[in-house]
């Protein structure tokens, strides 16, 4: 059926208001509906991914208007794989939110969760830059709601910073869109890809500024240093499952960079030569370094994990900024890993939170049942720091291998490997203080208030994510083979562009008449 491609957007978009309308006082019904919705999303996303697997580009013209006049959704290999990843992640995060009872600590968790999914799905599927802006807004406002879910002073304060910084980003997005429209007269990505090539070498400033402004917008979303300041405190203060879901949000930025800077402003485009193709890599390396520094410096467990996310995004950006098929293939493999690893780790940190008074890295009296959590943390840390046997190691190898031909190869290798070491040291310290040193502290009476262990469902969720990481490792060959095909497709975008631009819609004949 032809409407499947819009289903990942419309299903949560309709489910959420329905929950608000009919079930806002019944947490049980909300949970059932939300879970059912996410399970359906997985099915739909899997179907879309299968459909796109052979390189088919599926076009959906909303309002039956042909591109570039209406808004189109486009399902190609890249977007469908991101949609599938989002759906799968959302399922486990939702399980955890239900299992840990987080969803019942404030209002409208499930509605906001579904809206958030709608925003993410839309951002991955849209073929129109302004529509991307709209979905950025949706996911920003929904994520703000989720972030401050449950309240509390520090969380609200972190939330304000989060939303303010991202509003700066949104404003910049409008500047960038205005510039692009002024320069090219269109907002459709495929159309832009064609029009960008028409810009003469004698008048390049406009498109150059537009291209970098847009890149900065995406860099904010991807938390690239020095535009990452919104991330550390907000992810650390957000409720565990929300932070876990946010693992995909930074990837929205990375996805947008991949999409726009391989198709619209590819490295060989002369008008924008010498910009992102030259400068993104050093900046990404700084991200890698600062992430590691933050991991070592952090005095709280949750802060430490947020810095490792910055480092991890740095790795993704390093791979992307090579702007080679090999680099993008590595970046995509690593992105999947990074999403799963960060989500897992945030959930585990939330489990740790149950057994401690605070998250400060210091010895606290042992609590029964932390052995399992300690084991999970060990696994999560292995994933995040990129040690074998989990996929982070393979991802790292792929990135290093892809960077072999880069002019900055020595810097890249040295910084990535050095940062890995620092991360290992940081995580080793934190883990041994939190889990081992507790054994040397006598038990005390003032145990934390919610010392009751979380519901088994929470552990099922974490276990499920870890299992996915294992699968991502075991089937690395197949996954990487696929991401290689995706990357090859990105560097030969004519099927995408032709499908979008050549499919007629309502009143298309008049278009040709012009």
């Amino acid at each position: 059926m032809m409407h499947w491609i819009i289903a990942p957007v419309m299903l949560p978009a309709l489910l959420a208001p329905f929950i608000v309308l009919a079930a806002r006082h019944h947490i049980g019904i909300q949970r059932v509906m939300s879970l059912a919705g996410v399970i359906a999303l997985i099915g739909i996303a899997a179907g879309l991914a299968v459909q796109a697997a052979d390189g088919t580009v599926t076009l959906y013209q909303t309002g039956d208007w042909a591109a570039p006049f209406g808004i189109v959704l486009v399902g190609d290999r890249l977007s469908t794989i991101m949609v599938l990843l989002t759906a799968v992640l959302a399922f486990f995060v939702l399980l955890y939110a239900i299992g840990s009872g987080w969803d019942d600590r404030g209002r409208h968790f499930h509605a906001l969760f579904q809206f958030q999914l709608m925003g993410i799905m839309g951002a991955f599927l849209t073929g129109d830059l302004f529509n991307l802006f709209v979905f950025f807004e949706v996911l920003l406002i929904a994520s703000y709601g989720l972030m401050i879910h449950g309240g509390g002073n520090t969380r609200l304060r972190a939330g304000v910073q989060y939303v303010l910084f991202n509003l700066l980003g949104s404003t910049l997005f409008l500047f960038a869109l205005g510039s692009i429209y002024a320069e090219t007269g269109t907002l459709n990505m495929a159309d832009l890809a064609q029009r960008a090539t028409l810009i003469g070498a004698d008048a390049t400033v406009g498109i150059r500024v537009a291209a970098v402004l847009l890149l900065l917008v995406f860099a904010i979303k991807a938390a690239v240093v020095p535009l990452h300041f919104w991330l550390p405190s907000s992810y650390a203060e957000a409720p565990g499952p929300v932070a876990a879901l946010f693992a995909i949000m930074t990837k929205v930025g990375a996805y947008a960079i991949i999409r726009v800077y391989t198709m619209i402003f590819p490295p060989q485009l002369e008008a924008t030569a010498g910009l992102h193709g030259t400068w993104l890599l050093p900046v990404a390396l700084v991200s890698v370094a600062l992430g590691a520094i933050g991991v070592l410096a952090a005095r709280k467990l949750d802060r430490m994990v947020t810095f490792s996310v910055i480092g991890s995004m740095g790795m993704v950006l390093v791979a992307i900024s090579l702007f080679t098929p090999q680099g993008i293939a590595a970046a995509l493999y690593y992105m999947v890993h990074s999403t799963l690893a960060a989500a897992t780790l945030f959930l585990i940190v939330d489990l740790v939170r149950h057994s401690r008074r605070d998250m400060v890295l210091g010895a606290q009296p042992p609590v029964a049942g932390t052995a399992l959590v300690a084991g999970l943390f060990f696994a999560g840390a292995i994933a995040m720091t990129g040690l074998p046997p989990l996929s982070g190691f393979l991802g790292k190898l792929l990135v290093l291998d892809a960077a072999y031909d880069s002019p900055l190869m020595v810097w890249t290798w040295a910084l990535i490997l050095g940062a890995s070491l620092v991360n290992v040291v940081g995580f080793g310290r934190a883990g041994s203080v939190v889990f081992w040193k507790a054994k040397a502290v006598p038990p005390s009476d003032d145990a934390p208030a919610d010392a009751a262990p979380p519901h088994p469902l929470a552990f099922v969720a974490v276990g499920g994510l870890l299992a996915l990481l294992v699968a991502h490792t075991v089937f690395a060959g197949a996954v990487h083979g696929y991401t290689t095909r995706v990357a090859a497709g990105l560097f030969a975008p004519s099927p995408y562009v032709d499908t979008v631009m050549d499919t007629p819609g309502k009143l298309s004949e008049s278009k040709e008449g012009e």
Binding site: H3, L14, P17, L21, Q61, G63, F69, H108, L112, F130, N131, V134, V138, I141, Y144, G145, I148, G151, Q161, L172, Y181, A182, E183, G185, T186, G200, D202, A203, V205, A211, L216, P226, P232, L275, G294, L296, A297, F307, F378, L387, P388, P389, L394, L397, L400, D401, Y404, L417, V422, V424, G428, R429, S432, F435, W436, A440, H480, G481, S510, E514
Partner: protein, 960 residues
């Protein structure tokens, strides 16, 4: 048995001990033993093939595009190491079963041990060097867990971290080296790499690759200057020390050097680096070992020393050296593991490992004494024991090696190392077992049960057998040597025998033993000297280094992320400015294609007001009410600007949005003091001024640039203008764009609006359920309140205007498709009508008359909009395809019905719901404890005739 199964068995088996934990210690150890034995048997089934010189392989693809494949290979070298790992593993498991106390979690221990074992077998059977890296890092991780096994001991935790840091660093360096090697050779398979000796050694990348790989080997095998982690790893339970840190894991570096020997060795770089590191390590380790009082520390440094010895042998690059290395690996594994286990027995029974508190154990623990003495003498290089044979070969090789142009250097240092080696062996025997029986042991020592002494005894039997009959080991050692050498060199013809004649090595050996005895004789004064001498303490240096790095990291990261939002914003602005400016300055500015429009006085006046209001904001922003008014002016001027540019839709939207925002902001201001305190310094404000002026100028320049230039191709808006009526059925292009051309955007935006309202509601809930509630309830306003809060005039007026405003809203909604208007504006207008009721009569009164909850209105609105879009599916069209028709219902004129209007209804409802829910949320916050809900729309209502005094607080009571 397939190689896969041999490698996989320990990993799969690692699940069992944890599972069997509740079944008892014996069961736990039993399954571990069985798993290891099965793997060993599986290995031995391949023995015939290997011994006949074949290479057994197995493999499948894992990450083929990278070249990382699960290819395994079993040749002589791998077989030898795998036998050591699994064979000694069996002994260690037996020993550990009796060593661990009832308080120790045995399941956990054996799980880690099996994980380690699997990783180690994986290293030695890997054909792919990337796969080898995977296993390599796994041994570091499992070693981390095993060293830190006794979690309550600080030494365990610190030792574990140190080991992980050092070996982890080496592992990461090795990743770089291996990737380079693979890039040179064009494959990561050893079978290919080993064929490319020339290509690799001639490559410019040879030296960096070599250094990086050697970093990995040296850290793992505790070579100077990375030797310091190994002694601290001794905090682990003794079976771990015996297994990982003497027999197997620390040999991984040696193994890799042997594995890579055919391609990496034979160059001057290799020779100098490896031989030097080995020699220094050998001598240094031996000297330090002599003065250690802790039995395990002594053995640890002796292990360091012996690893140095083997490294040096590999470094010489000769076939004979390689053979001696292989032989010594075998011998060292046997006697050192036996010694560690003996030390563990002493510790276990006497409750101390401090040599100074021991002595005379010969009579109390005769069995242990025999085992330990034979092993120690072998280590000292006494004839008829296996250590002698390999040490002789080492000395012979050293005799022939010339380093740094000094032929005496290597032999002298090798002899010196052997001398100290003999000395500490003698000390170990003498000070632990010989001498008089003491009566101050912490516990009464006695021989342990057979379970603990049998494993070392078995090893000692091998020590003696090889020592007496070296020809038994010779074929095997030569087979292994052959696989080390590959095609790079021939296996030497030398025979293994005890008596070689009066060769230099013999004299060196004699000198070492005699020297060792002399050192023992003068040990007491030497110890005093040693204790008096200043020595760098590796652990202290390491700790200081880590602490310094952490401090540095804190100094960078913590102030950078201190939560100062103004600075985050400044960084953002500066980044955007710099990057944008760079992009601008490297491009070319094309000619202007449009002429600027003339500036008429009206425009200039508006512009001036805009500027004045904005500037006023900057200087008056500390007065919140005033700045709100100024914001209102800015908004109004923007609306006027829209009117000026003939955009009535935008103007209407802007004005209504302004009204609603100002009302909501006024409500919010209700909770804040009217003035903001000054929190920034002059410096900060100057910085902010510079940043904002730069940003503003840049934005202006950019806008000006674009205004004077046409798009490269006709903008898509031309299509919208041309087809709005034909395709969308509306003459109001803006509305058709909103509900039709780009209705999907609108759908997203109304959702944003709805979410914002839900968010405000959820936030209010959170506040009202938290500690803030009490503060809110009891706060006193900082401004005097009106005495008549719900004045009659206003109530009447709003009540009268309400139907009118609603009608206007309805009208605006209906005309939207063809004339300026639409659902969004209509929604705002209707909201204003309702908001006015709230303002006039108070929250309590108004919400009591509310029939439809605003949540529901939002939900309904979004659902209607979404379902309208989906409706087009039923006629086989994509989402939101619109249709329109003209109908005539008497007595009306013909009018248009468009599906887009239904969508607009959704927009309308969402807007109303969102605005009202936000207002309601603010109002809930505004309620205070001493203000009961009013039952009447007006406070003072003459028609009611009752004095309103009781319920209305007087200004005097409320005031400042």
């Amino acid at each position: 048995m397939s190689l896969f199964i041999i490698v996989a068995l320990p990993f799969l088996g690692a699940l069992l001990p944890g599972l069997m934990n509740t079944a008892g210690r014996a069961a736990c150890a039993g399954v571990t033993f069985t798993v290891t034995a099965a793997a060993l048997i599986g290995l031995l089934t391949n023995a015939p093939a290997v011994l006949s010189g074949q290479v057994v392989t197995a493999g499948f693809e894992w990450l083929p595009l990278l070249g990382l494949n699960v290819t395994l290979m079993l040749d002589g070298l791998g077989f030898f190491f795998a036998c050591l790992i699994l064979g000694i593993g069996l002994l260690i498991i037996t020993y550990a079963r009796f060593y661990l106390s009832r308080d120790d979690n045995m399941g956990e221990f054996f799980t880690y041990l099996l994980l380690f074992q699997g990783a180690m077998v994986g290293i030695v059977l890997s054909d792919n060097i990337l796969l080898l890296l995977v296993f390599w890092e796994l041994t570091s991780l499992s070693s981390f867990l095993l060293i830190g096994y006794w979690k309550h001991l600080p030494e365990g935790r610190q030792g574990a971290r140190m080991a992980l840091t050092v070996t982890g660093m080496g592992g990461l360096a090795m990743i770089g080296g291996m990737l380079m090697l693979g890039q040179i050779a064009g494959s990561y398979d050893l079978s290919v790499i080993l064929q490319n000796r020339e290509a690799i050694q001639e490559s410019p990348l040879y030296l960096p690759a070599l250094i990086l790989i050697l970093l990995g080997c040296f850290t793992k095998s505790a070579q100077f200057p990375f030797h310091f982690w190994l002694p601290h790893a001794m905090a682990a339970p003794t079976p771990v020390s015996a297994y990982l840190h003497s027999a197997t894991m620390v040999k991984a570096g040696i193994f890799l050097m042997a594995r890579m020997w055919p391609v990496l060795s034979g160059t001057p770089e290799w020779f100098v680096i490896v031989t030097t590191a080995g020699l220094v390590t050998m001598v240094l380790g031996a000297v330090i070992a002599l003065f250690k009082h802790d039995l395990k520390a002594l053995l640890a440094f002796s292990t360091v020393s012996h690893l140095g010895l083997i490294t040096m042998l590999l470094g010489t690059g000769t076939a004979f050296g390689a053979m001696a290395a292989v032989f010594h690996i075998l011998n060292h594994a046997t006697f050192k593991a036996a010694l560690f286990m003996s030390a563990g027995i002493v510790d276990h029974e006497a409750h101390t490992r401090d040599i100074r508190r021991l002595g005379g154990l010969r009579r109390l623990m005769p069995v242990t004494f025999v085992i330990a003495t034979l092993a120690a003498l072998s280590m000292a290089g006494i004839p008829l024991l296996n250590g002698f044979l390999s040490k002789e070969m080492m000395l012979e090789e050293a005799w022939r090696t010339e380093l740094y142009g000094a032929p005496w250097l290597v032999p002298a240092l090798a002899t010196l190392g052997s001398l100290f080696s003999a000395a500490y062996c003698f000390r170990l025997i003498g000070h632990t077992f010989l001498g008089p029986v003491r009566d101050d042991y912490p516990a009464r020592p006695h021989d342990p049960g057979a379970g603990m002494w049998l494993p070392p005894a078995i090893l000692v039997v091998m020590v003696v057998v090889i020592g007496i009959a070296p020809f038994l080991a010779e074929p095997f050692v030569k087979l292994v040597t052959a696989s080390v050498l590959g095609e790079a060199a021939e296996v030497p013809k030398a025979y293994f025998k005890i008596w070689h004649g009066l060769v230099p090595a013999l004299y060196m050996s004699i000198a070492a033993v005699v020297g060792g005895l002399i050192v023992m004789a003068i040990f007491a004064p030497m110890l005093r000297l040693w204790d008096a001498a200043p020595r760098p303490e590796a652990k202290a240096i390491f700790d200081r280094l880590i602490a310094a790095v952490v401090r540095l990291a804190e100094r960078i990261a913590l102030p950078l992320h201190n939560g100062a939002f103004t600075r985050y914003g400044a960084v953002f602005a500066v980044t955007v400015f710099v990057v944008g400016y760079y992009a601008w300055s490297t491009g070319t500015v094309g000619p202007a294609t449009r002429a600027p429009q003339p500036a008429d006085p009206v425009a200039i006046a508006g512009w001036l007001m805009l500027v004045a209001a904005t500037l006023g904001m900057v200087f008056l922003h500390r007065n919140r009410l005033l700045s709100l008014i100024l914001i209102g002016i800015v908004g109004l001027m923007v609306s006027v600007g829209f009117v000026f540019f003939s955009a009535p839709d935008l103007a209407m939207t802007q004005i209504t949005v302004e009204v609603v925002t100002i009302i909501l902001l006024l409500l919010a201001l209700n909770f804040l003091p009217n003035r903001t305190p000054i929190e920034s310094t002059v410096l900060h404000r100057t910085r902010d001024a510079v940043v904002s002026v730069a940003g503003g100028l840049a934005a202006t320049a950019l806008a000006y640039h674009y205004l004077l230039r046409d798009a490269v191709v006709t903008p898509i808006s031309e299509f919208h203008l041309a087809n709005s009526y034909k395709g969308g059925g509306g003459t109001n292009v803006v509305n058709v764009i909103l509900v039709d051309f780009r209705g999907f955007d609108t759908f997203g935006e109304i959702i944003v609006l709805g979410i914002a309202a839900l968010l405000i509601y959820a936030l209010t809930e959170a506040l009202l359920n938290g500690p803030v509630r009490a503060r809110l309830l009891n706060r006193l306003p900082d401004q005097p309140r009106a005495g008549d809060m719900h004045p009659m005039m206003m109530v009447i007026l709003t009540r009268v205007t309400m139907p009118v405003v609603l009608m206007v809203g309805f009208f605006i909604f209906l005309r939207g498709h063809n004339e300026p208007g639409g659902g969004f504006i209509a929604g705002l207008v209707v909201s204003i009508a309702v908001v006015m009721q709230y303002m006039a009569s108070g929250f309590g009164w108004a919400s009591a008359r509310l029939r439809y909850p605003y949540h529901g209105i939002i939900g309904t609105g979004v659902l209607i909009a979404g379902l309208t879009g989906i409706g087009s599916w039923f006629v086989g069209k994509p989402f939101m395809t619109t249709d329109f028709t003209y109908v005539r219902i008497p007595p009306f004129n013909e009018f248009e019905l468009a599906t887009a209007m239904l969508f607009d209804l959704g927009v309308f409802l969402t807007v109303v719901g969102a605005v009202m829910l936000s207002l309601e949320s603010f109002s809930r916050l505004a309620r205070r404890a001493h203000m009961p809900d009013v039952e009447h729309p007006m406070d003072i209502d003459p028609s009611r005739g009752d004095p309103p005094v009781a319920s209305v607080p007087t200004p005097a009571k409320e005031g400042v």
